[in-house]
């Protein structure tokens, strides 16, 4: 065909002369080269890796510093992938229906991403891993974690400037969750290989991270991105802060008790108007016991004797649905918790100085005060968060489309 084209060109001016012969040779070479190049270009075009940046909108009064690692920026594609993985039981690295387990197995949206005390699989809200081994503590919710800079988990073992670079952020907690005996009891390589083999997932990894090779590192990154979007900022109290609604008289009195030192004195550890996270994300020995044997308290991380028996102050957002309470789940109801803080706080050498009410055994609330305080705490319930479709299980997984 090329020769035919060359012959046609010759007709114009170079027929039957030497220059024409040279031109013919050059032209053939040139057209061959052009053909070669053009056939190269006929390969399907690579889509450039261009994930869509995701910006977290800062709710009223919330911190504007976010704990997002530089090597895992938030993207729409990363979050979408993370949501699938968060809900896909094959994160355990297994496909047998009895062996499926993932984040959402225990972290239920309707329970503010906790198990909940009424969980049929985990009686009393005490979770156990895939092989039945109980977790060392009860659960903490996946809620507003993007604002935690001081340490994840009850003991704070995972924190940004940890010398152990594998124990710094939510990405690392994903790995801990998959490999721990008391959680998924899995293997990171096996999990990565499994998702590599599931149709639809490699393409999602490519969109999120630029490569369709599934690595566990990217599994952790994707889930962490999704978890960072789990933001609760629309409780009745948030609306009150924004001037949209009024609290009831009982809730208002509860708020007064919550934020006064002579009342409940809750705010120093659990926030309020000036700290709407409703936690300092710090660790306190809150006077539950006189002696301590749990090897996974904050002391296990800091080795500071003042941290013996100290645990993360949980956020009180949605605390109503997050029973049982305290690190060991010793209280089933918020009423029991308020009773403890009222009358049963006990001394120990490492009790937090903020627990000064230990002098009288507690904050000594009367029954009506307890009721008002409870009503205020219930105003921190955010049903929009617990029903937000963006946080819910996807209708179909990538291989079901």
């Amino acid at each position: 065909m090329i020769v035919k084209i060359v012959n046609a060109l010759q007709i114009f001016s170079f027929r039957n002369n030497a220059v024409g012969i040279i031109f013919k040779q050059v032209t053939v070479f040139g057209l061959l080269a052009l053909f070669t190049f053009s056939s190269c270009n006929k390969q399907p075009r690579e889509e450039p890796y261009k994930p869509t940046p995701y910006h977290i909108e800062i709710p009223f009064g919330f911190p504007n510093k976010l704990n997002i690692p530089k090597d895992n920026p938030m993207t729409v594609e990363g979050i979408a992938l993370g949501r699938y993985l968060y809900y896909d039981g094959r994160l355990s690295g297994r496909t047998d229906p009895d062996s499926l387990m993932t984040c959402a197995t225990c972290h239920l949206q309707e329970r503010s991403f906790e198990a909940g005390i009424d969980n049929p699989r985990f009686p009393g809200g005490h979770p156990h891993g895939i092989t039945g081994i109980p977790t060392p503590h009860v659960m903490l919710p996946h809620i507003n974690l993007v604002w935690n800079f001081t340490g994840y988990l009850w003991d704070g073992a995972v924190y940004p400037d940890n010398p152990d670079e594998n124990m710094r952020n939510i990405e690392d907690i994903v790995r801990l969750g998959v490999t721990s005996k008391h959680e998924l009891d899995g293997d990171t390589a096996r999990t990565a290989a499994l998702f590599q083999s599931i149709p639809g997932y490699p393409e999602l990894f490519k969109k999120a991270f630029g490569s369709d090779k599934v690595t566990f590192k990217n599994i952790g990154r994707a889930i962490a991105q999704f978890v960072r979007t789990l933001i609760s900022a629309n409780s009745k109290f948030d609306k009150y802060m924004r001037g949209e609604v009024q609290l009831s008289q009982s809730e208002l009195h509860g708020y007064v008790l919550f934020t006064s030192e002579e009342g409940g004195d809750c705010f120093h550890c659990h926030g309020g108007f000036g700290n709407p996270l409703f936690t300092t994300n710090l660790f306190y020995n809150n006077g539950k016991d006189t002696a301590f044997t749990d090897p996974l308290d904050h002391y296990s991380v800091t080795h500071d004797p003042m941290d013996i028996g100290a645990y993360k102050a949980t956020t009180l957002r949605n605390i109503e649905v997050q029973g049982p309470y305290m690190h060991d789940g010793r209280y089933e109801t918020l009423e029991q918790v308020i009773d403890f803080y009222s009358h049963h706080v006990v001394r120990s050498p490492s009790i937090s100085p903020l627990m000064h009410h230990v002098i009288t055994g507690g904050i000594q609330l009367t029954p009506p005060e307890k009721e008002d305080l409870l009503n205020f705490i219930k105003a921190l319930r955010d049903d929009d968060f617990m029903t937000n479709p963006d946080f819910a299980k996807p209708e179909k997984f990538p291989d079901e489309r």
Partner: protein
């Protein structure tokens, strides 16, 4: 004629170009920088935390667990009565004995070379600036002072424990901020009291040379919070004072000599 016109035009452009370069000469730098380091002592010795080794003027044995506080309105005074307020609205500095990065405060403003008679600052935050939600990020945001109690921020949290009359180790929260005057305690507040106060650092005069950076150390002498003029007895005052204006007032009166300045490290 044509050449003459061209010459005139050329001369005009040349003149313009030359005049463009006639910007005033940059003034010689005649400023320096000022920074503070913060140290905490008891009875002249570096503060040791979490050890029941101190005795206050009331005879209470006590320990200190942590201290967190704001200073603001750093002002340089001249002998002629003139003064310079530094950093304006950005001058609220947070100090936390647990966070090393807060132990240094580099003032943003350049300091004119010259002689300064003394340095003063506000302990806490003044009424105009002490508004809720001016800090949204920890650790400063964790200093918030509840709206009900006056809003804004704690001036200071000094947390520790003392040995009470029953020989129990009891926690204290020596917290200072906006006070309340109650119609009927604790439900009805008639008015709020601004407890922040000005600290004039003794022997704080200095000479600033052009291009120099002065590093001074502000020392908090912790024991002075509990004495002079008011002996602060934990057994009498109890473990909390946020809603006890008389106790906060007594503490703030004691604050006048809590801070000293050291010019050598």
């Amino acid at each position: 004629m044509r050449i003459r016109e061209l010459l005139i035009i050329f001369s005009a452009f040349a003149l313009l170009a030359v005049s463009c370069h006639k910007t005033p000469e940059q003034p010689e730098t005649k400023t320096g920088k000022l920074s503070f380091s913060f140290k905490h002592r008891v009875d002249g010795q570096p503060l040791q935390f979490d050890t029941m080794m101190y005795v206050n003027a009331a005879g209470n044995h006590y320990l200190v667990n942590e201290i967190q506080y704001f200073i603001s309105d750093v002002t340089l005074h001249k002998s002629d009565g003139d003064s310079v307020l530094l950093d304006k609205w950005e001058d609220i500095h947070y100090v936390d004995t647990d966070i090393e990065s807060t132990w240094t405060y580099v003032l943003k403003d350049d300091i004119k070379a010259g002689t300064y008679h003394s340095i003063s600052f506000t302990f806490g935050i003044n009424e105009q600036k002490n508004q809720s939600l001016i800090f949204v990020n920890p650790p400063e945001s964790l200093m918030f002072w509840p709206e009900l109690l006056g809003g804004g921020y704690h001036y200071m949290k000094l947390n520790g424990k003392w040995l009470d009359t029953l020989n129990h180790i009891s926690p204290f929260n020596f917290h200072l901020g906006i006070g309340q005057i109650y119609y009927s305690f604790p439900d009805s507040i008639s008015r709020y009291v601004q407890n922040y106060f000005k600290v004039s650092l003794p022997n704080s005069g200095f000479e600033m040379q052009a291009g120099e950076t002065k590093n001074f150390t502000i020392v908090m002498n912790v024991e002075n919070w509990f004495q002079n003029p008011n002996v602060f007895d934990f057994n009498y005052r109890g473990g909390d004072i946020m809603q006890k204006q008389d106790a906060m007032h007594a503490a703030c009166e004691n604050g006048w000599d809590v801070f000293t300045l050291e010019k050598k490290k």
